[in-house]
Amino acid sequence: MARSDRSDEMHDVRAFLERMASEAPIPSEEGGAVVRRARRHVGATLVSGALAIALVITGGVAALDAVRAWNRTTPLVSEPPPTPTGSPSIAITGRFGEDDLRDLVLRASDRPTGHGLRHDPSFSEFNGVTSVASTLDVSTSALAQAGLVTAYFNGFLSDAWYDTGAPPEERVDLVSYAILFPDVEAAHTGFELIAAGPTTPVSGWRSEPVDELGEEAQESRGVWNDVPTAAIVWRVDNVVLFLASQGYGDAIPFGVLRPLAELMDARAT
């Protein structure tokens, strides 16, 4: 194709897109309902999303206490002992039920090693679809459509999170989720949604299937929200299991994550 033809073609495409864009709906000026949703989300994300970069910026224990205090006053987090948040009207036909979830996640007694991680009881709770979607950065509506019933998670933090004098690079977290769906098909859809990766920007994100875990599994690594992240997601029957780490120096390597995932997997299978 001659250069002028190609140039004309590009011009045509641009002109077409400009014209089509002019047919787009015009959002209402203040977007009242959206702004209210966004406002709630700002608060929720600061404390429940991936254990909050806020901790790094405002520094260690004081911020952690603030997070705990916030958690105690909001319906997002329940006081221990946590109770399931799923609807009793949902018929679960898969192997697992709500009572199994606490046994499937990584436990305090598993003592994940290598980074001085310790279980923080503040991050041990049942989550509904909104919190799961927010923390895993997956579309809330898609996850709800897939039929997510409820989820349970345990969070672990490195000692550096509690030590204001520790270098930020030593701050590492580990999150373990067991996410319940009513049946295998719904869990498969949920697995695909989570395996597709975060909806917000990431860089250098790479994913590979894993053969050894569950009925389908994938591990991913990259930088999410400027923080190195490693995640393993897999499915066993009607439950999706998720194990992820973020670290300001680096996430926990797969060499450490895998055995922990295998431990969870062994309980489920």
Binding site: M20, R39, D137
Partner: protein
Amino acid sequence: MVVGSADTAERRGLAELFARHAPEATRLAYLLTGDHALAEDLVQDAFVRAAGRLAHLRSREAFSPYLRRTVVNLSKNHFRHQTVERAYLARQAREPQIEPVDGGAIAHESMRRALQQLPARQRAAVVLRFYEDLPESEIAEILRCRPGTVRSLVSRGVAALRTSSEVLDGA
């Protein structure tokens, strides 16, 4: 520091942010989906998500590109499952055709349909390149691929647009 940022992102700030960025984001979402209602839904979801990350962004100026990326990612997710996309295209095909009144309208309608029939990644690459005028490196970051792949996606997208619109014109 973060608490201060969150405070400034109070309702008024968010309303202003929405008023400033939503129209452009909606145009992008509409180009990516071809559906008014879906475009509005995607932008609302994207805005809520981007607002949730507001305190983590390095500056307010980073909000617009962040929102744009989120719109693209959400639209890609929407079309990720082929069954959904096939159902959507089948529905589009069943919708009554707009009766064009002149040659320009015919060409525009043909191109519009051809754009919606492109695979989601090709469509996103074409829109980001020719509507948003983004460099290949930035598109690559958004689509999580290499710049060479972006070139290929754009080239194949434009070729498919040309072919499809010619076929549709001839039909």
